[in-house]
Symmetry: D2
Subunit: 337 residues, 4 copies
């Protein structure tokens, strides 16, 4: 950690801080420059309260040197992690596609979709039973009934199932039916939920919050891992920017950069990342080319009648074509689909 | 609702949409322009699924005319709402100041703060018992022990207490001790929490999410009100932008504009809105001048030792001076403190 | 155009607006709904002043139906445009790579780079002679001397040259040496520059401003085309968002969406779009997979010694490898390199 | 400057960097921590190329300690600067209001406005003669004819005149008529313009770019001052964020923070900062309460007929009322109007 003092600060202020750091077991090294004094701190700064130091008299700013997360950091675990979801391995050579409707609506819809996406090459079935909706008058999902239908579709196809869990009290129920639990973007910083998912051992799909930095995403993952569950897959699903022409701005820079910082697998959601059906295919390909370990795509037998996210959902036929196109891109970057 | 068709769309696509609208009980009026056909829809469009319509063949875009919220809209309730928090009225002529530490730390800290801020003119005591923290290794609050200390500080001073509730299962516990329940920025779209707070009757302080539009904030409030609890106070606490020099960007435009759209009171949090102690006073005054019904300010007897948010917390003496300065600004805009 | 009146507005206000619209040659159709009156306007709304209408008494909002640009719109020109830069065709089946240093530094540097990128498969040489720099104490470019060196490198290799022009008075000078004139992101809304580039006939590379919407980018292109120069290539180079871990957020959604809206070619700049050398390759591939017509990449013989943008510049060897990898991705999306 | 090395970097890489720093006349101090080596650099780091260092082998990141600007920094000039605009002093106890139409349209309009705003208490007349417009088909201003009308309005009222200059070649012409030259938000990083304004001695009103950080704004001011013109007034006019309900997000945090960093005066433009007529008054008051040295307000005799910015322009009567309200707020913060 580096502590920059305000210009021309009296020596006693520097000494107070040095005193405080020594008491905390650190080894402070003051460096007296022409304009400013800087205190370099040797030791594991993560045990210090940066804000307290920053608010001390005479301090201009505090610059941490170490990263605030440990378990999810690539420094602590240089190899890529591979997460096993009921036999499907995410993070290895094979890129994994999760596909299915935004909301589970009825048995016919979900089973038809499951059969079709499986045939096209998808490895995991997605579908929402509990739906976080911006408006209180929107369709909120079939809840446990929806989970049962997802389980039926899994039985019919063998595809593992991923679905969202919205609060701690439903973790047990959702884990009974699903193979992977999804944390939605709006819940990425719901720390009680993250902590309880850490105690559950099922794999977790952690979607990036719509205004989260990479550091915050990795700290959210750290909550889960530090509480006992190392099976976390990250998901880039678009961030909120000034661009109003798309629902979100898909931030693919995140893929190669977070892969440098962390060993966790990362998938890309081009459906939420664009919000526009005609862009889903291009951005799915771009996600794979950027190095993602997989994709999550919203697919529906009759997109025009979907009860949620209709305008970013593609049809079964469209998905089939997309999978063929993706195969070529996947190979071009040295992987398989 | 206005439906804009793609350029030169065949008449049968227009008719399909007109058919669908009629079935839903609407009165569609097609207008054939030179380049495009537009369908104006008369009727309460809120019962339609905009995304489904937008995803129909031939449709370029759908533009809603009505607002998606009802109860919180000023159109449905032209007078300002006044929310009563254990006798303190928010939304009337008097601007209300809520003050206290970020986290409750011990009895001495919270009672000393309560006495001091009361003397300086604050009307409500704030203090965090459950703390949402970005990092899993940060101090997470005293939990129920903290609630008890808040209740003690209330008994000692008579100040009503506001504190955050982080998930549905704690609502009953927090409501036992607190006079007003706070929804933090990270939870503004935690819909289960909002719904259950609607069933509880205690006043709710709803903080704006850090990437929420005004519409989303009002829809979050609508969740609470539509579920039975009209006692909602909104809070502007800064949004996330590209500006890295401050913790958040305090969006004071929100105050006068949301006051046009809604009858709910609005307060401003200059502590989170800046993240920098030396800016709190200026932005508190700016908030009042912009028309806010009150403020929420982080105050601590020894800011340098605060266990959270140290660098945006002001001292008891600083708060006292600020209240004097605020008095003049409040009067200048025709209100009182 | 659709004009939404405020709730329960008196009929005479509606009539005033109808009167005004008729005088302007429009055909207004008032639609009286339950809560609101809406006026649909038939005719070419682009001749109306939307802000004036929006500011009239009784108007809540004005929603345009037509797009504000014409020449660059795909509606007016359904086929892809192909722009010829001294024999290199941008916008066709072949994806075009522009490569070279951020700044031209000396003859050896630019000629060595030109030879090497040509051999690796680049089609156009880039290099800055006039450099817009955030700080007044940074290296500002070699100016005309740099242009002469670029011309030498073209003579040595046959590669056409693209370089930035920063203000109208230098257009003639830059056009004397360069084959394509670049408008930098900071100048995307320098309307005098755009207008004068419209009068010049050399192809223009128009970089998106760092906080520009797609509409603003297309309007900037419209300035050039409407003034007589149809040879415009657009460039996505990253936008400014809250993400501080990368220099910019590369917005690849822009590629497929702007291709729907416009017939102009689009290239992607992964160097500025990331600001980080190790991400350039991944995002170059992602750009091609998203459908870009080409790339612009910063390359330098000794990146560590580059006088500007050192940390996003790749070496000649790195570029060579990247071109091989790009070849596979280009083919996977049905194009060639 | 602090250089953080990658984890477990070999000693020879550290030595290479130390060597390079010594050659540049710096005094490097390596600190060997448990996980990482950090090199603290004593000396004026502003002569080093941060990007070059950051791109060297083994370096993780470079953290500058000193600010990149000198002349505009409060450290180099602790007292507030007071800028004299033809006798009107900006930056002192008196808050200064600049008012007038977005565009100069005709003699009657500008003279009527000038008389009225002067009577209401404005100190400087604003009006656009050269207009940067997003669309090529919008009204672009009366150009020199508009400048002449501004000069007439000054002669009629004695109010100094501020107007925008859009490119270097017009500086001489605009300076002939105007008392203060405005750099628009879109030109804040037009470095040729800034440099030439530095050589001109007329006071400059520098508007913040819509996606500029505080550092970039101060560096833009540094360009002007470093080239010889110390008479710069900064202007907060709103930034671009995800909030679509207002034209811009007025970032009032900027006022108290940039006042800490710099000695230059700062004014606030609530017209562009909101884009909505009914919000201008509230945000003007908020700007003054935040500590601004003045305001810039768009005023027009008939706002509904204004040729540009109609929906954010207030009427002469509205301006008169606003000035009365502002008087109270100005006094409440210890200043005068």
């Amino acid at each position: 950690m580096i502590i920059v003092m305000k210009r021309y600060e009296a020596k006693d202020k520097v000494e107070q801080i040095i005193e405080k750091l020594k008491k905390a077991g650190m080894q402070p090294v003051p460096l007296f420059g022409v304009e400013r004094t800087v205190i370099a701190v040797i030791g594991d700064e993560r045990i210090l309260d940066i804000q307290q130091l920053a608010s001390m008299d005479g301090v201009e700013k505090v610059m941490p040197v170490l990263k605030p997360y440990k378990f999810v950091s690539r420094e602590s675990h240089p190899e890529n992690s591979i997460i096993d979801v009921a036999g499907v391995r995410i993070g290895g050579k094979k890129a994994i596609v999760m596909a299915g409707p935004c909301s589970v609506e009825d048995e016919q819809q979900i089973v038809e979709t499951a059969n079709s996406v499986k045939e096209a090459g998808a490895s995991i079935l997605r579908g929402g039973a509990f739906k976080p909706r911006t408006g209180p008058y929107d369709f909120q999902g079939l809840k446990e009934e929806g989970l049962k239908l997802l389980a039926k579709a899994r039985d019919a196809t063998g595809l593992p199932v991923v679905t969202e869990v919205m609060q701690p009290k439903y973790i047990t129920m959702v884990a009974k039916y699903a193979d992977m639990l999804q944390v939605g973007a709006r819940n990425m910083q719901n720390y009680d939920l993250l902590r309880d998912l850490g105690r559950c051992k099922k794999p977790v799909l952690l979607k990036r919050g719509m205004s989260s930095t990479y550091k915050e995403l990795l700290l959210a993952a750290e909550y889960i891992v530090a509480n006992g569950n190392p099976n976390v897959v990250l998901c880039e699903r678009g961030i909120r920017t000034f661009v109003a022409e798309t629902r979100n701005t898909l931030d693919l820079n995140m893929v190669p950069l977070v892969k440098e910082l962390s060993h966790l697998p990362i998938i890309v959601d081009p459906s939420h990342g664009t919000g526009i059906r005609s862009l889903v295919g291009s951005m799915a390909k771009a996600g794979i080319a950027a190095g993602a370990d997989g994709l999550m795509v919203e697919v529906h037998p009759r997109p025009d009648k979907a009860k949620s996210d209709a305008d970013q959902t593609i049809s079964l036929a469209h998905f089939k074509t997309l999978m063929q196109e993706l195969r070529a891109v996947t190979q071009a970057v040295g992987r398989e689909l």
